[in-house]
């Protein structure tokens, strides 16, 4: 199996597992993820609790499944925000050019100075920390990547003959941009979206771990790690299980992104 195919298959399987787990959690869970069972505190993996239990005796597998929902939800919305804002800004800046391009890209550059955690600190000061602020923070911090990517694609495509032909046929600027230029930029966007989802999963987990993301009463992988921190001497499972879930999800999105990049690039595709 070629490296490209291996990346796609392995990445696809890992993300399929996470999405499947999240969907499964809507119809079936082995245990109530919030049910306290002090008789089963810090249980090791067993037939009753597949991945063990935490300090309240809550089932780790059920909590990991619920956590998958939040991870996907925050990641997809955050990358959606970045994609929408970044693509709009990048496309308009690249297409119109001149002073507008300069001003828009300078403003985007300022966002470079605010990675997700820093943006979340700022938003948490203004509004209460929570899922929404985490999504916006991750989304805004990712805007520059998409804006730069789309701007570069638009600049390289807008001078091509078929775009000029479209203009000559009387197409107006929005149509030229939407019909002739942007479809040519879809491939790099898809690849970047997958890679950005990997970063978003890490950022969401980090923000929840810091108390700036998903509220503490909702099972999320970052919250589970924060809670496990105080009990690691008593049982490693509550710390190991959510960490593994985060790692495999990030790995899945990264492999998928790498695989898509190679697959969509005609120079590397075999």
């Amino acid at each position: 199996m070629s490296g490209t195919r291996l990346n796609l298959v392995l990445g696809g399987w890992l993300i399929g597992l996470v999405v499947g787990g999240a969907l499964l959690s809507f119809v079936w869970l082995p245990h109530d993820p919030n049910r306290l069972d002090f008789a089963a505190q810090f249980a090791a993996p067993s037939a009753a609790h597949w991945l063990g239990t935490d300090h309240f005796g809550r089932d780790l597998f059920s909590r990991v499944l619920i956590g998958a929902r939040g991870t996907l939800y925050v990641g997809v919305i955050a990358v959606g925000i970045a994609l929408s804002v970044g693509c709009f800004v990048g496309a308009v800046a690249g297409f119109v050019g001149g002073v507008l391009d300069e001003v828009m890209m300078r403003l985007v550059d300022v966002l470079y100075a605010f990675p997700a955690i820093l943006m979340a600190l700022l938003l948490a000061a203004v509004y209460s920390p929570g899922t929404l602020t985490a999504m916006i923070a991750i989304g805004l911090a990712t805007v520059p990547i998409f804006a730069r990517l789309i701007r570069a694609s638009v600049l390289s495509i807008k001078g091509r003959d078929y775009v000029e032909a479209g203009r000559a046929l009387g197409a107006r600027s929005p149509r030229v941009l939407g019909v002739y230029i942007l479809p040519g930029a879809v491939s790099p966007i898809v690849v970047q979206a997958s890679l950005s989802l990997a970063v978003a999963v890490l950022a969401e987990a980090a923000l929840s771990f810091l108390g700036l993301g998903t509220p503490p009463d909702v099972p999320s992988w970052g919250n589970m790690l924060r809670e496990a921190q105080g009990f690691m001497a008593l049982s490693p499972y509550p710390a190991v299980v959510p960490g593994l879930a985060i790692m495999l999800t990030v790995l899945g999105w990264s492999l998928l992104g790498d695989g898509l990049r190679d697959w969509l690039d005609p120079t590397t595709r075999r």
Binding site: L121, L122, V126, A206, L210, G211, Q229
Partner: protein, 314 residues
């Protein structure tokens, strides 16, 4: 060269000013009266009035921003509401933990990633190449704070070799302070090393595929000379960019790692400032982080000319 550097520095300075404006404006958006937000609904009107004056809320926002920025330039960053001490002094003390942590992590990352990335590129297609690629993929996927927890579990809880957290302070015990930073540096640096290994390998592979490297080989130059004189020097521009990115990543990543290891650094102080609604302190801390990122980016750009004479400046 000088003209380019000046222009680039001025652009960086504008970015810092815009970043400061963003930080300042964001805190203007705090719903309601910030004094009430900080002191609570039942606060005495006189206390509220005093706090409003202290925060400068009795002057228009634009004037307040100019006053604040002028203060920042002079070194007067305001006073912390929680500690009652100058913000600049508090930040300076906390940087004594955060900066060694970030620099240590970046050093570890470079020491591992640069040789490993170059080595993997030179052995492309060999049996060890996929192992390096896989290890770097996995390493990059591990959250640094989880790695920190695992390191605590193994080296502090199981083996009891190193402390699980806390920081005695440089003046009280330098040796114990260094010991306290070893696990955090590893947690932050190892993940970064994985990311950098992939990038260094890709940069080297790119250069090794260039015509001038093939020519150097065809001329019969020894491998060492081809790698160090031709390939590595040209790959340095990309590697320095990677280095700049990694310094940014570890500096920001230190916010989470300080929380894992209970280190009294700048990030932990910023988190406490949110809880205590200490806006002047939070403003200062965020400004330090954002300005550092902008300045690191400037330094990376500035180094290009030194490394690659082909880059011409207007």
């Amino acid at each position: 060269m000088l003209g380019y550097l000046t222009r680039r520095f001025l652009t960086a300075l504008v970015s810092v000013v815009l970043a400061s404006l963003l930080v300042f404006s964001a805190l203007l958006l705090v719903p309601g009266d910030p004094a009430v937000v900080i002191l609570g609904m039942n606060a005495h009107p006189e206390a509220l009035a005093a706090l409003r004056t202290r925060l400068g809320l009795d002057v228009p926002p634009a004037q307040r921003y100019v006053q604040w920025l002028a203060g920042v330039v002079r070194g007067d960053w305001g006073e912390s509401l929680q500690f009652g001490r100058p913000v600049a002094a508090l930040i300076w003390v906390r940087l004594g933990v955060s900066v060694p942590l970030a620099l240590g992590a970046a050093t570890i990352a470079c020491l591992i990633a640069l040789p490993l990335g170059i080595w993997a590129a030179l052995r492309r297609g060999s049996a060890t190449d996929p192992i390096v690629i896989l290890a770097s993929q996995l390493g990059a996927a591990i959250p640094s704070f989880w790695l920190g927890l695992l390191l605590i579990l193994f080296f502090a809880v199981e083996l009891r070799w190193l402390p699980a957290g806390g920081f005695p302070g440089w003046d009280r015990s330098p040796i114990d302070s260094i010991r306290a930073l070893i696990l955090p540096i590893l947690a932050l640096g190892l993940g970064q090393a994985a990311v950098m290994t992939r990038m260094t390998r890709a940069a080297m592979l790119d250069v090794l595929g260039q015509d001038y490297v093939r020519t150097a080989r065809a001329k019969g130059l020894p491998q060492r000379s081809v790698i160090y004189k031709h390939a590595l020097r040209n790959a340095l521009v990309t590697i320095v960019t990677i280095l700049g990115l990694s310094l940014t990543n570890v500096f920001i990543g230190s916010i989470v790692i300080e929380q894992v290891f209970a280190l009294p650094g700048l990030g932990r102080m910023a988190l406490t400032a949110i809880g205590n609604r200490d806006f002047p302190l939070l403003q200062g801390a965020i400004l330090v982080y954002a300005s550092t990122i902008v300045m690191l980016s400037f330094l990376v750009d500035a180094s290009y000319g030194l490394l690659d004479p082909r880059i011409r400046y207007g």
